[in-house]
């Protein structure tokens, strides 16, 4: 299993559209991917939109992403890119 710290940078946080992009991306990998709030809050299965929305991750929230499986490195790299480009939204 590998882990990585990610920060939500887009202004509206992990709202419906951003969460949908995240879930679509995570679903492309075989590995289990999860996200946990670094402040000790909820953990979410990154392939479940309901779970992801429940993180209530607003802009600036720090998350710890973990992936476990045969493509874990690729999964985390892709996730990391999505977070760093603000989920493809213009507003940061």
């Amino acid at each position: 299993m590998i882990q990585k710290r990610l920060i939500v940078t887009n202004r509206l946080g992990l709202h419906a559209r951003a969460a949908a992009r995240l879930v679509h991306l995570a679903a492309r990998f075989k590995s289990n991917v999860s996200l946990q709030r670094v402040d000790g809050g909820a953990t979410a299965d990154a392939k479940s939109i309901l779970n992801v929305l429940m993180l209530a991750a607003t802009s600036g929230t720090e998350l710890s992403a973990s992936a476990e499986g045969i493509d874990e490195a690729e999964a985390l790299a892709a996730l990391s890119e999505l977070f760093s480009n603000g989920f493809g939204e213009t507003e940061k």
């Binding site: 509206l12 949908a20 879930v23 299965d45 939204e89 213009t90």
Partner: protein, 597 residues
């Protein structure tokens, strides 16, 4: 009209806000957001197995519905409005939801409806505890999805899928998915108890060219499906159970206009529209949604006079990337053709981009439009770059919304020039873009001459001008008697702005709902207007009148109006003079009514 004996059908009237123009007599079709009551059934082993299968079938059915809705929304409203249904689809496919419901069905030997209700309520309870207000509101999406599965389970097709020809949708409020699901080709009109000028209902009704009146308070619960109803958005009026006398008077007034105006217009020879004395008048189109693009050609608009770019944003206020905007503007330019399109920069404020900047006590007077763009320069620069790039392929101009004075114009022009240079340095092609100012704030009216010296054209936004000039909120019923488009102060502003533009040899386009009412358009022509931009569906009826009036008559009447001291006197003058000069064009009901204050 078959009267239902049990009910005492007395004619009743409601006043609301007409947000999409037109007049219709039809039958009420009540549309609710479909929330269903759910009961618990106790199952045996065999039934439990069957119930799991039933739940799976319902998920499949709901999924097919959502895919259809998403496609329809993409096509009719544009991709940026369809993403919401992506999120709904993911919720539907969420194994978290499915597994919890299945586990509950097996463990509790419960029916699928009950299991779904329990699990959804559990999720909703967790959501309501979320601190972030914006994310908390996502709970309504979960409920929307749950209701869709429930309706698939009970096999009820959405009650409004098949509309009769004369259906008038009457609703307390319409959720985005309910609107997207309506059989829009057959709806004749829409009314909602809630809502304002920019509600989803209003936007969609305007896109479809059907009348809509919103803000009707309690109409929904006072109606039954099948009731006869008149929707007259010109007056913002609803008449329920109209008497035969009312129907007759309405019929007489509106019958000739109901559809043939479009026919006569398409038969009009091509070439510029002229008044009887040969003064050229240009009619352009106001558009916001892709669904309206076809109507630009259909109604023979001379290009797009006002493209409200903020409708590119999804409802969540997520801004599109430069490339996404670039593609949208390319399409706008293509639709407008040789006559070109004027793109109004985002007329946004905190209320549209809630979450990040919101919470203003008085958003109409707040950080919105060009002020917002100058404060959040990245937003403005992204939009400007996209327009400059698209202008290389089509004729596009920029208009700055809500300009207060030259300072706004100068700052915006610096940014536009900087981005043009930057794009040049990046090796990207840009086109020539004229820059105009929206004149809608009273200070800009007073300073019109100085502003005219540094812009390429004026757009006179009558909606906001009337609102700001008279300090009246057009959405507030309590002050609707003070909202007077024909106020002497408004008329003088129109003259001053046109004079200022003429002195600087720039043109003025009058956009705003005022221009789309034929009688008002004639008054505006008398005041000096020659170029208008309006809802495309209004073009035929305005063209018909413009082509039939003598310009010198319009001038004379406008002079009389300018001499009036009160809006009542102006309206009375318009009534008397129009009936005297053009009895064949105007009847009393198509002219501003006497309104005692």
């Amino acid at each position: 009209m078959t009267d239902q004996p049990k009910r005492n059908l007395v004619e009743e009237r409601w006043r609301g806000l007409g947000v999409s123009e037109g007049y219709v007599v039809g039958r009420v079709l009540r549309v609710d957001n479909g929330n269903r009551q759910v009961y618990r059934a106790a199952l045996n082993e065999v039934e439990t197995e069957r119930e799991l299968q039933r739940f799976q079938n319902a998920l499949n059915g709901a999924r097919r519905q959502l895919l259809d809705i998403k496609l329809k929304a993409e096509k009719e409203l544009g991709p940026e409005h369809a993403y919401l249904f992506d999120a709904h689809l993911l919720m539907l496919e969420d194994r978290n939801l499915r597994e919890r419901v299945e586990t509950y069905i097996v463990a509790e030997k419960a029916n699928a409806e009950w299991a779904l209700r329990v699990v959804t309520d559990d999720l909703l309870a967790a959501y309501s505890a979320v601190k972030d207000e914006y994310l908390r509101a996502r709970g309504s999406d979960i409920e929307d999805v749950a209701q869709r599965i429930l309706s698939a389970l009970t096999g009820t097709i959405p009650q409004y899928a098949n509309l009769t020809r004369d259906a008038v949708i009457v609703s307390a409020d319409l959720s985005p998915s309910a609107v997207a699901e309506l059989d829009l080709q057959h709806a004749r009109a829409i009314t909602t108890d809630a809502g304002g000028w920019t509600s989803h209902t209003a936007i969609i009704a305007r896109a479809l060219g059907i009348p809509a009146v919103v803000g009707l308070r309690d109409l929904y619960r006072r109606t039954r499906t099948g009731d006869t109803i008149i929707v007259n958005s010109y007056a913002g009026e609803i008449v329920l159970h109209p008497t035969s006398a009312t129907l007759e008077s309405y019929g007489k007034e509106f019958a000739p206009e109901r559809k043939p105006s479009g026919v006569s217009f398409t038969e009009r020879e091509t070439g510029p529209l002229r008044t009887v004395e040969g003064v050229a008048v240009t009619l352009r189109a106001n558009v916001e949604l892709p669904a309206e693009f076809a109507s630009v050609r259909q109604f023979r608009a001379s290009g797009i006079g006002l493209y409200r770019s903020e409708f590119l944003l999804s409802q969540e206020g997520v801004l599109l990337s430069e490339d996404e905007q670039y593609r949208a503007y390319l399409e706008v330019g293509r639709v407008a053709g040789a006559d070109g399109a004027t793109i109004r920069l985002f007329d946004l404020g905190g209320e549209q981009l809630h979450g990040g900047f919101g919470g203003e006590r008085n958003p109409a007077l707040g950080l919105r439009a060009i002020r917002f763009g100058l404060r959040h320069e990245d937003v403005l620069r992204t939009q400007v770059r996209a327009i400059l790039r698209a202008a290389a392929q089509g004729r596009l101009d920029i208009v700055l919304p809500m300009v207060s004075d030259l300072a706004d114009v100068r700052r915006a022009r610096v940014i536009i020039e900087q981005e043009r240079e930057r794009l040049g340095a990046e090796g990207k092609e840009t086109g020539v873009v004229k820059v105009g100012a929206m004149i809608e704030v009273p200070s800009a009216v007073i300073l019109a001459r100085t502003i005219a010296a540094e812009v390429d054209f004026f757009s006179l936004g009558t909606n906001d001008l009337v609102q700001y000039m008279l300090a009246v909120d057009r959405g507030n019923d309590d002050v609707s008697d003070w909202f007077r488009s024909l106020h002497p102060a408004v008329l003088r502003s129109v003259v001053d702005v046109h004079d200022a533009a003429a002195a600087a040899s720039i043109r003025t386009v009058v956009c705003g709902e005022m221009a789309s009412t034929p009688a008002y358009a004639v008054v505006l022509i008398g005041l000096g207007a020659t170029e208008f931009s309006m809802t495309p569906s209004a073009i035929p009826r305005v063209a018909r009148v413009v082509g039939a009036v003598k310009h010198s008559d319009a001038r004379k009447i406008a002079e009389l109006c300018l001499a009036c001291a009160t809006p009542d006197q102006v309206e009375q003058t318009v009534r008397e003079q129009f009936l005297e000069h053009w009895p064949q064009l105007f009847s009393l009901e198509s002219l501003p009514a006497a309104k005692p204050r």
